[in-house]
């Protein structure tokens, strides 16, 4: 009797103890954090916001209609933009903004500094959804921070933009010529066509202001680099210096015969003058941003009242990658895309990650990119969106340039100082005030001061 009673008592006591312990699990333990999740912040971008508004009207989807409720845009005063205010914020580990729209070079700068959150590894975004060449441009090596080898995607581009070679497709067809792959070919075409086409004043037009943007893909096509992938200044190294001088010499050599001479450059300083000249049939080739295809369409759409010899149809316009030096295997484009990146310091809990994921899904999603392609002529960065695009010009730009196997999209160096100095010496050389060698030496001397 006593053993049985003891066992029963022990069993009952055990049940009581379990019940007491279970009380902890049923809510008698420490209270959990029940504070409501806060809306995440992002850098306000007017074009993106306009597309969201259009999608909210068109799709009637809650993710677009509740956009402003879920995501709070930060309007950056225009006066502050030149000062790169977010460098101060991120370098001091500010959590604001959660998501930033960054130009490709800034992505490199912020990414290498470890301020941006990896998107592929953390499953915020699948890199394979992007066109590989543009995905590569928005990836950086974070080995020094995370220990992970290889490049990590740190921003999601919403479209593909880069400078490319525009050409008169109708004229090249007429002479049974194909678009040039090298500068030699371009010069040969010009030598053949220009004497016979009197309406053409120039063989090639490049920007006379911010010329560096056009010069970079030419320079890269000669095998040179200004900075290495980890951001070090490598222009003084011999191969790079020689490539810089060779590319510059090549441009100078074409001045007067193919591209405008120093005296004629000034007329192309006003904004839009390059595309106007191409539209008016003054040039056979033009280096410009890929988005100028839409601008040319807008000019053509204006109809009567335009000068004779102007472009009237997209069939007259062809696009190709900017030529490279003969023997160089790749052609380059200076990428001008912007991408959405996540502030590493804002990722303090899984809710933030989830919200950032939702945000990117909205502003870089398929519907968004398709609408941008149809209304703004932007080339989608998503592979799936590209398959559904109906805009022929957008598809033409993608197919004939960014989809080319030898095409590399590369961001310019992020250092504004480097760019400013190189822009200055480039002008000096193109305007004939300095030889290419002297211009390079001056740039290297100034940039090596520190």
């Amino acid at each position: 009797m006593s053993h049985l009673s003891l066992a029963t008592t022990v069993l009952r006591l055990t049940r009581v103890v379990w019940a007491v312990l279970l009380l902890q699990l049923l809510g008698c333990g420490p209270s959990s954090d029940t504070s409501p999740p806060r809306a995440i912040t992002y850098t306000f971008d007017a074009p993106s916001r306009e597309l969201i508004r259009l999608l909210a009207q068109k799709e009637k989807s809650s993710e677009y209609q509740n956009f402003d409720r879920n995501f709070k845009g930060i309007l950056v005063p225009e006066s502050l933009l030149p000062y790169e205010p977010f460098v101060l914020g991120l370098s001091t580990e500010s959590k604001i903004p959660t998501v930033l729209l960054l130009d490709a070079p800034w992505v490199q700068r912020y990414g290498v500094a470890g301020w941006l959150y990896e998107l592929q590894r953390t499953e915020v975004f699948d890199r394979s959804e992007l066109v590989p060449s543009v995905a590569e441009a928005f990836s950086v090596s974070l080995t020094h921070i995370t220990g992970q080898k290889g490049k990590q995607l740190v921003a999601v581009p919403t479209y593909i933009k880069g400078n490319i070679l525009f050409y008169r497709q109708d004229i090249l067809k007429r002479y049974n010529l194909t678009p040039p792959r090298t500068w030699e070919e371009l010069r040969a075409i010009c030598r053949k066509v220009l004497p016979q086409e009197k309406s053409l004043k120039y063989g090639l037009l490049i920007h006379s202001t911010n010329t560096l943007n056009d010069f970079y893909p030419i320079f890269w096509g000669f095998g040179g680099q200004v900075t290495s992938e980890d951001g070090h200044f490598v222009l003084p190294e011999k191969p790079n210096a020689e490539a810089f001088v060779a590319a510059l010499k090549m441009l100078i050599a074409m001045q007067g015969s193919i591209i405008p001479g120093p005296g004629a450059l000034k007329q192309f300083d006003p904004g839009g003058s390059l595309r106007q000249a191409f539209f008016q049939g003054q040039t056979l080739f033009m280096i410009n941003w890929s988005t100028r295809m839409k601008d040319l369409g807008d000019l053509m759409a204006k109809g009567p009242g335009q000068p004779p010899g102007r472009l009237t149809s997209f069939s007259q316009v062809g696009v190709a990658p900017i030529p490279a030096q003969a023997g160089h295997g790749r052609r380059y484009s200076n990428i001008g895309s912007f991408g959405w990146a996540v502030n590493r310091f804002s990722v303090t809990d899984p809710v933030v990650i989830e919200h950032a994921k939702q945000f990117i899904k909205v502003v870089a999603g398929e519907q968004f990119q398709l609408l941008a392609a149809e209304t703004m002529g932007q080339v989608p960065s998503l592979v799936q969106a590209l398959k559904k695009v109906t805009n022929k010009e957008v598809l033409q730009v993608y197919r004939d340039t960014f989809a080319q196997k030898d095409m590399v999209m590369r961001p310019r160096p992020h250092s504004r100082r480097i760019n400013n100095v190189l822009e200055k010496v480039l002008d000096e050389a193109l305007y004939g005030r300095q030889t290419p060698e002297a211009a390079l030496a001056g740039a290297i001397a100034e940039l090596s001061k520190d």
Partner: protein, 548 residues
């Protein structure tokens, strides 16, 4: 009786209920006390979480303050112009700014502005000012501009910031955990950018900002003390609650248990009183049984009703038993005397034949007469015992009746047994002669049964010192104990004894009925002595109805 009483106390329903209620409360108290360790764990978890969140909040605060300072430094375009040898207005402005920030902001312990570039000896241009409030530290005269070398982890941290413009938080935490020559404070290292319209954010160097942690330490200490107080108070409250609730619970339990068990306890006591009750107390016992208040408890009512039925039936059964025992006693006397009667009959026949043949002389006639007299006497004795009215009470002399009982009891007594009788002149007593004779017969027959072969048996009737009558019946034989002797008078105390003779018990009942008593004691030489005392004659003497 004593043992029975202790057992009852130990295992009574009331005591069991008290013990079980106490054990239940003790178990509940134990369970409640088990909450204390859980509470302790909860409080420790709370403390840990609070410390963590306070530390996190302090670090966020330190980062925010440092960020505000760095944002302010970013507008100092002159920073890009200062050199180790310069002594310009900008140098003074930077030092003044540091003095203002450190002096007027209690939470800022000190600031260092460290240029990114190093000289050939690895030193960096540094503007610094610390308040140095700790007693062991010598206060600084004012902000300084020096060339400073950094060592160890701090050097690694500054190098990583100047090369990558990125703060390695792991190294920063290590620096904060280690000793600091500036005193105890939370250090924050941040890259300093100078904003230029044309070049954007231009990296200049590192800001090292010391944040006061005394406030946090005081808060942590206060929180720890508060938790100790809370823990102690809760412990006292739990103990007090248990004590108060224990007293209250036991009081209520005591009241209710007493209330609930009272009918059963009363019934039990009344029932137990039967064990020591005398026959004359039986009516009183029965009356007491009827007066037990069951308070509507079904179980008590059932037991009470059954006991009442038994109590009513027992006197009737007792009367029947007495009647039957008297007849059985006479039957035993007759059975024992049968050989004697047969011998007397044979002797009578032989004498009659002899006298009929004329052969006998005068002695035969005398013998015949004697035998006839004996036979007639036996019949006369039996007739008296059988038919005398037992309910007739009067002033009587007990001697004839006792002599009749003696004669009947000793008929057929083995020849080896030596009978002794001694009758002194006795005073009259009030009573039923038939019953007293029957009582004597009971004792004598019982004594004859006890008498061993060649033993002795005796009857002595004499006046008692009180003026009544004392009848002493003794018998020789084995040594008897007092309890054995007492057991003869109380055959119902031991159910086994019921199988034996009820004579002594009935004789005792008759003696009691007459206001007398019967005692039994062992004889020193072996055997036993029965002593029946009757009170002297009294006018107020009233007969009792026989019960047992």
């Amino acid at each position: 009786m004593k043992n029975t009483s202790e057992t009852f106390i130990r295992y009574s329903l009331r005591n069991r209920l008290f013990v079980l209620a106490g054990a239940t409360f003790f178990l509940c108290a134990l369970v409640i006390l088990m909450f204390f360790p859980l509470l302790n764990i909860t409080l420790e978890g709370l403390q840990s979480r609070t410390i963590n969140s306070m530390q996190a909040a302090a670090e966020v605060e330190a980062t925010t303050i440092s960020r505000l300072l760095v944002l302010e430094f970013s507008s100092l375009k002159g920073l890009l112009e200062v050199t180790p040898d310069s002594n310009t207005e900008m140098d003074q402005r930077i030092k003044d700014l540091l003095w203002e920030k450190v002096t007027f902001n209690e939470i800022i312990e000190g600031v260092e502005l460290i240029q990114g570039q190093k000289d050939a000896r690895g030193r960096r241009l540094t503007y610094l000012f610390y308040r140095r409030e700790a007693p062991e530290l010598k206060p600084m005269a004012g902000p300084q501009k020096i060339m400073k070398s950094f060592q160890g982890l701090e050097q690694d941290l500054i190098n990583s910031i100047t090369t990558q413009q990125r703060v390695d938080n792991t190294i920063q935490e290590s620096v904060n955990r280690g000793p600091k020559e500036e005193g105890e404070m939370l250090l924050r290292y941040m890259p300093v950018y100078v904003l230029q319209a044309e070049e954007g954010a231009v990296f200049w160097g590192v800001a090292k900002i010391g944040i006061d942690t005394n406030r946090m330490r005081q808060l942590l200490l206060m929180q720890s003390q508060e938790q100790t107080t809370i823990r102690r108070n809760i412990w006292v409250e739990i103990i007090l609650s248990l004590l108060i609730s224990g007293v209250l619970a036991m009081s209520l339990i005591y009241f209710w248990v007493r209330h609930i068990t009272e009918p059963l306890r009363t019934l039990s006591m009344v029932t137990a009183a039967l064990q020591g009750a005398k026959p004359e107390d039986f009516d009183l016992w029965l009356e007491n049984l009827k007066r037990v208040d069951a308070q509507g408890q079904a179980e008590v009512v059932v037991i009470q009703e059954v006991l009442e039925r038994l109590g009513t039936a027992v006197p009737k059964l007792g009367q029947r038993l007495i009647d039957g025992e008297g007849q059985a006693c006479l039957g035993k006397v007759i059975a024992r005397g049968l050989p004697v009667f047969q011998a007397w009959q044979a002797q009578l026949l032989a004498l009659e034949q002899k006298l009929g043949g004329g052969e006998a002389g005068g002695s035969a006639h005398q013998t015949l007469t004697l035998v006839r007299t004996r036979i007639e006497m036996v019949f006369d004795d039996l007739s008296h015992l059988w038919s005398d009215p037992k309910d007739r009470w009067d002033r009587i002399d007990v001697t004839p009746g006792l002599q009749r009982a003696w004669r009947l009891a000793t008929i057929g007594l083995p020849a080896e047994v030596r009978p002794h009788q001694e009758f002194a002149p006795l005073p009259p007593v009030w009573g039923s002669e038939a019953k007293l004779t029957q009582a004597g017969l009971y004792l004598l027959v019982f004594a004859v049964d006890l008498a061993p072969p060649a033993g002795e048996i005796g009857l002595e009737a004499a006046p008692s010192p009180a003026g009544g009558v004392r009848l002493t019946v003794w018998v020789s034989g084995n040594r008897r104990t007092a309890s054995e002797c007492q057991g003869w008078l109380n055959p119902f105390g031991d159910p086994d004894r019921i199988r034996g003779s009820l004579g002594p018990a009935l004789a005792a009942a008759i003696a009691t009925q007459h206001g007398g008593s019967l005692t039994v004691a062992p004889r020193e030489s072996g055997g036993a002595v029965f002593s029946l005392e009757l009170p002297p004659l009294s006018a107020s003497q009233e007969p009792y109805e026989p019960i047992i």
